[in-house]
Amino acid sequence: MLRRTLYWSSHYLLIGLYVLFALFPLFWLIKVALTPNDLLYSEGIRLWPSRTSLEHFRFVLAHSEFPLFFRNSLIVSAGTAVSVTLVSAAGGYGLSRFTFRGKPLLVALMLITQMFPLVMLVAPMFRLLAPIGLTNSLTGLVIVYTAFNAPFATFLMQSFFDAIPKELEEAAMIDGATRFGAFRRIILPLTLPGIAATGGFVFTAAWSELLFALMLNSSSRASTFPVGLLSFVSKFSVDFGQMMAAGVLALIPACLFFFLIQRYLVRGLTAGAVKG
């Protein structure tokens, strides 16, 4: 009994400490966003300013292009998440279930794509995409981000498929299902937690990517959120309050997304299926 109490109190203590660590910088963002400009430096290190105001938020929503950037980011991130999930589920399944000629080469190629500093792809990629009209385009960004994220997502999905016994679809195939039918109806539902995790990663990665969004899409009509945030810095005087307010708004979709997918993360594999 004492050991149990001791265990659970340290369990909660550790979790509490981490929650504090995870949330404090976010709290600071919100605090700065709510601090009126005249108090920004004079009350810089106070935990809460003596006066708060929503002026920064009002400005960002009413007088800036952020609603447009917001929409663009949402389209790009959701499009990337969906297409990466489809591509990597198929690819991960292929790597998990088959040995085939060229497999080591494929794995090596996928690994190499993760090792090159992406900075170096900017110039060549611009040259390749510009003639086919994929610069200054949200579709172009979705394609580029899908390629960036697909290799890692495929490895991730492969590890989730590896954890599911082969016997499951073998049994279904003996009962007359095609392999693809077994994959779609039996294996995919079991990897839903993995698919949700993959989708979550990819969505946030696309949501925060800055370099390519900046270099490939120069027109503000096709700008994403991080590029918009950067425009605050490169303006004459940096308005940190407005920038932080925009940053706080940028957190909303990603947070919502996590709340949506996290029940899949928790659910895990159904015990019955694994017993098979």
Binding site: Y18, A147, F240
Partner: protein, 299 residues
């Protein structure tokens, strides 16, 4: 379908599943990669219209005697090692804590994953504020608990500046390991633990003989990819210190960024990138053979 047709169909099946990812990375990544690598042997200056000529291995010769590059290599080791190790350890502990049922778990889980959702550019900015003595609380707190001798900005001192981006990257990266580890933990059948507890195995023993071996293959891949990413990841350093003060936080990745976008020397930047690529590839081969060894021992 006759027997031969069916054999061809079955033989083609693996390629049908893997074709989309292969086509995508070949067209969008490998082709630009090849072009980018060719820049390493050419003189590509963005503002110089007469540049573009073939220079052979001149860039690599210059690199061999480049002091900044050697310092950046050393910083890359520290930056990558510290970031990945601490992200991983905290992420694994967090995943183990979250893998047990307790009241409020879903809320806690949603909260602790939040840092991952923050755009990296904003992460850098936010932490730069936190470390700033005028607008952030950390210098005062660190001084109060006697971790520092003064309330100066640690990002401004060459000896301590790298700590800032490392802390920010740990904050941002813990959820990554927590999520992948948690997903992997939850794919371990619960009845393995049940039978182990019936046999009287302690929690620690269960962790060592069930959790760790079953997690190892996934861990190897995620650590491998994470290390490579963090080594290539320049955002936090560029935003928080811009490689300074006096190049003290310049990693190879941020050095490439500086050479490419400040000096606009894409040729030289490409040659540094090529060297980094080779180093990371050697590292990846080492980790992969380690993974194969673990898998073999298990089966």
């Amino acid at each position: 379908m006759n027997a031969r047709g069916r054999r061809i169909a079955i033989g083609a099946e693996p390629y049908l599943y893997t074709a989309p990812v292969l086509i995508l990375i070949a067209a969008v990544l490998l082709v630009p990669l090849g072009v980018g690598l060719s820049y390493a042997f050419r003189d590509i200056q963005l503002l110089d219209p007469f540049s573009g000529g073939f220079v052979g291995v001149d860039h690599f010769r210059e690199l061999a005697s480049d002091r900044s590059f050697r310092a950046a290599l050393y910083n890359t080791l520290i930056w990558t090692g510290a970031s990945v190790a601490l992200q991983f350890i905290f992420g694994l502990v967090l995943a183990l804590l979250l893998n047990r049922e307790f009241p409020g778990r879903r809320l806690v889980q949603a909260l602790v994953f939040l840092p991952w959702a923050v755009p990296t550019f904003l992460v850098g900015l936010d932490w730069a504020w936190l470390f700033n003595p005028v607008v952030g609380p950390l210098p005062g707190w660190l001084f109060a608990v006697k971790l520092t001798h003064d309330t100066n900005n640690l990002l401004a001192a060459p000896g301590t500046a790298l700590i800032g981006p490392i802390v920010a990257s740990i904050w941002w990266g813990i959820p990554f390991f927590a999520i992948t580890n948690l997903a992997a933990l939850q794919s371990i059948p619960k009845d393995l633990y049940e039978s182990a507890s019936i046999d009287g195995a302690s929690v620690f023993k269960q962790f060592r003989s069930i959790t760790l071996p079953l997690l190892a293959p996934t861990l190897a891949i995620t650590i491998l990819l994470r290390t490579v990413w963090v080594a290539n990841f320049a955002d936090l350093i560029v935003v928080m210190t811009d490689g300074g003060p006096a190049d003290s936080t310049q990693t190879v990745a941020s050095y490439i960024f500086t050479v490419a976008f400040r000096r606009l020397d894409f040729g030289y930047a490409s040659s540094i990138a090529a060297v980094l690529l080779i180093l990371l590839f050697i590292y990846a081969l080492a980790i992969l053979s380690l993974r194969r060894l673990i898998m073999q021992r298990q089966s």
